[in-house]
Symmetry: C2
Subunit: 189 residues, 2 copies
């Protein structure tokens, strides 16, 4: 069992609604030393792949994506979820379904900051149905960039998002794939 | 002129609506090496203050806050902006006015992750009217934690948020205070 899996067992909680609560070290109060350990693991898995940018979507995946970009020595690009005044023209968009908020959400990246010359590593803290990842992959495809892979901290294996991407040939690297979760009993693949 | 100010002059743009666009290195595509330089400057300014946590609000300030937390060797706590299923009970809240979206927004932190023993450094990429900062300071006050200071990359000095906090005795440390901004002419304090 790796460090992340140990932390999930020790500190995580399973809540009604299929929620694995890890907000004391991953996505509310964030243990930066743990993020560094996860980022080093990602960097080792994807080494030699000439990654030019790390990409994520706001908001909870940003700390891990930031530390991963720091570890790789490349910039971070984060997709935004709604039109803000601070983004003008030239947007690349993809519409996804957010299961967290049960509504359609549009992911957006400025076309200025991603192009066919890029080799992108997607990083996120969680993957469940994989809708956010599908949107990011769609944006990468639209601009003709290369998708190096997808690096995830916690994947809900039983929701199938990761396996759907793997079936399409994407290198999905998850550090904790949860196959079964109920209070007091979390089982990893 | 420091490194951030040089980058703002070289790469920033002033858009209608009083927007200083720095999304090629600060808040969309993020230059992590620059964030590290800014974080080192923050750490030097606040050294010896026994900071226990860095605090910010989602989303665009998270990369800088993450690198600052990494630099200081402490966890990051980020306030959330809307009720998500992933936060349960025990919330500390503060209502602010978002000028970006022109509506009321509630900032929330779980009471589990902040308390009277904490010495908090607030970090954000931008401060304009200072509403987000006012909300974070309110949350810190409600739980009886100590506010060590506020570290900002870019402050819009002419909007007064920073000076209002300084007038209350808060140590507001901003690396680029913009006093005047129009296309082709950005003046720092």
């Amino acid at each position: 069992m790796n460090e992340l899996q140990q932390r999930i067992i020790a500190e995580g909680r399973v809540l009604p609604g299929d929620i694995i609560k890890v907000d004391g070290f991953m996505n509310h109060l964030v243990d930066i030393k743990l993020q560094r350990a996860l980022a080093k693991d990602f960097a080792e898995h994807f080494k030699g792949r000439e990654i030019t940018k790390v990409m994520t979507v706001e908001a909870s995946g940003i700390p891990l994506a930031t530390i991963t970009a720091d570890e790789l020595g490349v910039p971070l690009l984060f997709a935004k979820k709604a039109k803000s005044d601070n983004i003008e023209g030239g947007l690349v968009c993809s519409e996804i379904h957010s299961y967290t908020y049960n509504k359609k959400v549009t992911l957006m990246v400025s076309a200025e900051w991603i192009g066919p010359e890029d080799k992108i590593l997607i990083v996120d803290d969680f993957m469940a149905n994989g809708e956010a990842m599908r949107g990011l992959v769609d944006i990468i495809t639209q601009v003709g960039a290369e998708l190096v892979g997808v690096a995830i901290a916690i994947e809900k294996g039983y929701q199938g998002g990761g396996d759907r991407l793997r079936a399409k040939g994407v290198d999905v690297y998850s550090l904790a794939i949860v196959e079964h979760a109920e209070p007091g009993n979390i089982v990893f693949r």
